[in-house]
Every structure is written in C-alpha cells, then in structure tokens.
Amino acid sequence: MRLAAAALVAAALLALAGGAAAGDGVAVTIGSVLATDAGREFDPRLVSMKPQFDSLFRYSSYRLMKQERRTIRWGGGESFDIPGGRYLVVAPKELRDSKVTMDVMLLEGGRPLVDTTVALRNHGMLLLGGPKQQEGVLIIAIGARAE
C-alpha cells in the first residue's frame, strides 16, 4: 500500500512539474533559408528538412542565412528580422488540440506579403517562401513548440 502511494506521489509530482511549464509560452524558431540554383550546396544545419525540401522544391542549393529562437508568451507578439529588410511578426494565440494557433505576418517595404492565421501542429513547422533574395528566393521555416 505504501509502495503504491509512493509511486502515485512520484507520478503526481512529475505531472505537476510538466503542467507548470505548459503555460509559459511557445518557443518559436525562425530559420531563413536562401534557395538558389547556383552551386550544389546543402547546408548541413538543414539536414532534418532535406526530405521536405527535395520533395517540394527544385533548387540545387540551400543555405541557412539566419536562425533565431525566442519564447513568446500567449497573447503577445514578437518581430523577427528577416534578410532583405523584411520583418516577420509572430503572435501565438492559443494551444488547443495539440495545435498552436498563431498570427503570422511577413512585411516587406511597408506592405504585408502574407498576413495569415494558422493552426500549426505542436512541434511542427510551416514554410513561407517566394520572396526574392540575391540570386534566389527566401524560404522561411517557422517552428512552434509549446511544452
């Protein structure tokens, strides 16, 4: 009986510790990737995304230009500098059914290239691409992780 009680206490403590972290906010990672047809470089830091890139795009070279990770509180917003004088505003709203709902706006030259509300699977990734950058295009990977 004592054994079961101790096990239950241990499990409850662990659950409590996990629950406390859930309300802190969402860790958002923004990666800006330059995709070009010049050369055949594949940045080793992007290796986890290679299957998706190979399936979705036909560029021969991918290079991670910038990566930034911040924790954003629910209901707040953060602005990320994106190469080419662009800004990406990310505003997480809620975590429901293991999906992170957030507003995402990509701004360039005073106009929103994209202004969207998405529900992204927790620990998942959304790609935002197309803006011209140097001799190629920019692909922005947006990852969200709420524990």
């Binding site: 101790a6 954003i72 999906k99 507003d103 360039e108 030259g109 929103p112 202004d115 011209k132």
Partner: protein, 163 residues
C-alpha cells in the same frame, strides 16, 4: 500610426513586450518609414552593444573557486539525509522507505523510457497546418503541400509591384 506614436513604442517593440496588434502596427510602420527604420536599427545596435558588454563582463568573472564551494556545500547537505534514513530505520520504516524510493525510481525510469525515443529510431514528423485566414498584397499566393510529413508551404509570387 504616426512617427511620434511609433517612436514611443520602439523600445517595447524591440523587447517583444507589445501586444499582437500594436506589434503588427509598429512593424508595418517601420517597414515603410525610413526614419523610424533607421531609429530602430540604431536602437538594435545599442542593445547589441549593451549585450556584448554584459557578456564580456560575465566572461571575466572567475568561476574557478565556484565548483569547489558547491562541492563542499553538497558534502554538508548529505548529513541530514543520512540522519533521516538512520532515524527511519530505527523506527522500523527503513524497509518501507527503501521500497518507496525504489518504486519512485522505477516510475521515473518507465516515464523516461516512454518519453525518450530510442537512439537511431526514425522520428516521424507531422507538420499538419490548418490555415484559418490568408491575406496577401503580393501578385499571387500558392499553397503547396508535401504528403509525407504534411509540410505546408505558403508561396508568394512577388515581383515587387507594390514597392
């Protein structure tokens, strides 16, 4: 939003302390106002310089005596635990305490194994996204999807017509 209104909010904007709506408004203003963008870049440089100075100051702190100090304190802290265990044994609870500790470790171990996938195991990603709304000022927007991992791409086809 006027420049004067934006200037007042730039500090909060840099620190990410604005609510979502003013954050978007300030960001929108900054991308189309050269003077506010220059001001923001100056503030960013200042913040970077402060952060670098702070990092340098922290790097100069001597931590060589830190760990020996912690180790000495840990040695001191072990004594009450031993006393507690000895007292538990004295009153006949030693076996129960040992069993309870073993049970707790077992539970933690099971949960750890359950939470951490074995090394080398393929991790299946699922990037499923639901798009509730999408507005764009670019010429056209395409949605692409990769079925294996459900990765979605919002692709803007932009020729800079709005500039």
């Amino acid at each position: 939003m006027t420049c004067r209104e934006a200037e007042k909010l730039l500090d909060l904007f840099l620190d990410g302390e604005l609510e979502a709506r003013p954050m978007r408004t300030v960001a929108l203003h900054v991308t189309r106002c050269a003077s506010c963008e220059a001001l923001l870049q100056r503030q960013e440089r200042l913040q970077d310089a402060i952060a670098e100075t702070y990092a340098e100051a922290v790097a100069e702190v001597d931590f060589t005596t830190f760990w020996p100090g912690v180790a000495a304190r840990m040695t001191d802290r072990r004594r009450p635990v031993r006393t507690w265990l000895s007292r538990a044994r004295e009153i006949g609870g030693g076996r129960a305490a040992g069993l309870a500790a073993a049970a707790a470790i077992t539970v933690l171990g099971i949960l750890w194994v359950w939470r951490v996938p074995p090394a080398g195991a393929p991790v299946r990603t699922d990037n499923q996204v639901r798009i509730d709304s999408l507005v764009s000022e670019s010429r056209s927007v395409a949605l692409l999807s990769e079925p294996e991992s459900n990765t979605t791409v919002i692709w803007v086809i932009d020729d800079g017509a709005g500039e």
